[in-house]
């Protein structure tokens, strides 16, 4: 009984992912199906960054770099792995999906290791300084990826090449073209729903409250026995893992190219904006913001050159009119449960850790 309760939400994530693919997606055309995948990937990105920025209160603006690390790692595995297994880099359903799943998980792990390497020394830094280091790390990743060699596309060359050579043949500034398109609605939403289960379970457990205490007051948290550095690194690594998975989903999606420029600081900013707009620490807020901010530019497409101007103005006015984001720190299901909760007060400058 207890174990059923333990795993049933994860089973539910799988069922829901299939419902999205076969129940929801057929109602839309191909264009909107791609949009549905984009939304799912952005949900993974926003909810995972929320673990760092919203839960642990650490200010990372290099999330896209972890996405890039995971995406390139996974992409290299499916692309060059496909040549070894199938002799080409086309989509092979069944076996190929297994390869994709393995590659995605490896991509997540590589990103998590990168998160650990970056996080461990730099999480000693406070607030804005951490932000700058994550930004700098992102730029270094981007430049290094731009320096990689051209993608190999001849089977004989690939089979002859060593792993090291292949790991450096990632397409450079042009991007990693030719990846098989494995990313489907099922895969995207499987990971999105799994992350949501994890995030909600984290927020409502002692471990998750430890993250929150670090955000609220680091000195008090450590006086209560919370190893603040350890929890910060944990949040960072967990977030990087899912950013890596989102990177793999992005890499194997139809209509996107995995290239260093796409995953620069602008992408990181986009994700930060989703988290802040949703309300720092609010999981449902991050989901809603990911949906809204993925769709908004699409709705503004008619306005062409004014699109980004309107987007910018909306962003500024949102920050001025509703500074705590859509839901503040709360969840959508908590909004009407507690009538006595007052509006978060504006904090004096410098009071935010």
């Amino acid at each position: 009984m207890g174990y059923l309760r333990a795993v049933s939400p994860f089973l539910g994530a799988i069922v829901l992912a299939f419902v999205m693919q076969f129940g929801v997606a057929p109602m839309f055309g191909a264009y909107y199906q791609k949009l549905l995948i984009d939304i799912g990937i952005n949900i993974v990105l926003a909810v995972s960054l929320n673990l760092v920025n919203g839960f642990a209160g650490q200010f990372s603006i290099g999330h896209a770099a972890f996405m890039a690390v995971g995406g390139y790692a996974a992409g290299a595995i499916t692309y060059y792995g496909s040549f070894h297994v199938f002799g080409d880099a086309l989509v092979h359903h069944g076996q190929g999906d297994v390869l994709f799943l393995a590659a995605t998980l490896v991509g997540g792990c590589v990103a998590a290791v990168a998160g650990w390497v970056v996080g461990l020394p730099s999480l000693r830094l406070k607030g804005d300084y951490l932000a700058i280091v994550t930004l700098g790390f992102g730029e270094i990743v981007r430049v290094l990826l731009q320096l990689t060699d051209d993608v190999m596309f001849k089977r004989a060359d690939i089979e002859a090449a060593s792993v090291g050579t292949l790991a450096l043949a990632l397409g450079g500034a042009l991007g990693f073209g030719g990846l098989p398109f494995y990313t489907s609605i099922v895969w995207t939403y499987f990971f999105a729903f799994t992350l949501l289960v994890i995030a909600v379970r984290l927020k409502t457990s002692g471990e998750g409250r430890a993250f929150l205490s670090v955000r609220e007051n680091e000195i008090a948290a450590s006086a209560m026995g919370i190893d603040t550095t350890r929890y910060k690194v944990r949040a960072f690594v967990l977030a990087a893992f899912f950013a890596g998975i989102a990177g793999s989903l992005f890499a194997h999606e139809i209509g996107t190219t995995l290239n260093p420029r796409e995953l620069g600081f602008q992408k990181s900013f986009d994700i930060v904006i989703m988290v802040v707009l949703g309300g720092m620490g609010s999981i449902s807020g991050a989901v809603l913001a990911a949906i809204v901010l993925t769709l908004l530019p699409e709705f503004l497409r008619e306005a062409a050159s004014y699109r980004m101007i309107i987007y910018a103005l909306l962003l500024i006015s949102m920050m001025i009119l509703r500074p705590q984001g859509l839901f503040g720190v709360r969840e959508v299901w908590e909004l009407y449960r507690r009538p006595k909760v007052s509006r978060p007060q504006v904090r004096p400058p410098g009071s935010l850790p």
Binding site: Y129, A312, I316, L352
Partner: protein, 306 residues
Amino acid sequence: MAKLLQTLFDGVAVGSLYALIALGYTMVYGILQFINFAHSDIFMTGAWIAFVIAKAAGWAGGDTPIWASLVTLLGSMIFCGLLGFVIERLAYRPLRGAPRLNVLITAIGVSLFLENTGQLEVLFGTQPQRMPTLLSSEPLFRIGGVGLPLVDVVVVLVAVGLMLLLQWLVFSTRLGRAMRAVSFSIPVASLMGVNVDRVVSFTFVVGSALAAAAGFLYAMKYPGLNQPAHSTWILLGLKCFVAAVVGGIGNVRGAMLGGLLIGCVEMFGAAYLSTSLRDVYVFSILILVLLFKPTGLLGKATVEKV
């Protein structure tokens, strides 16, 4: 030897540009504790306004009088100073005292707004342009076999002149004292009768004018102007921000030091190691400095009172 000297000149010229922009970041950070991401777009606007002025006046070629450069420079500085004033008034002032992340996102919003507004056809358009040559790039004189063009000399002289002016402004005037008071503590300064709003406005005007001057000088030295939303602008801005942080953010002299250091590191790295890794050097310096001296080279450590 000639290469060494040449690289040093380049490093100092670029470094003084970085320093000028870094000053804007550092002053705003010192007073309001936020990273003004839109500062790089003020710099971009400064360069483009210089282009618009020179183009409208029909100045081109190496024989334009020196006052043409001066008019362009001042025009750009005045425009951007006003722009900085308006931005602070409309976008940042309503958020005074709000969580830092919100202000940061607003700054990103302002940045997006400036870039995309600049791309409108009625303004700068979506195409790269070539800045008319106002200052000759012929070597003015030679030192150790290396020619020093007028552009580089002007870049360094104007940058150093403006920095000295700022130094005087911050440390020897009433307004400068008010600025330092506000950067120490906004509530205390306002209790002591300092008009905080005016000081903040003034800081934005000065910082933006300096960025515009840097934009003008940049356009002189590198005449191929990228379109407003091109990522080179933000990347340049980021490097200057890095310079401010490396020097110790909030510290005026630190920004100058950081700018020169970053400029030299970048140029020497590019000349002696690899050109394509120049951004990596800059960000690696940043990470190293922050890990070993988290408050920057000239920054003071602040201790949280428990």
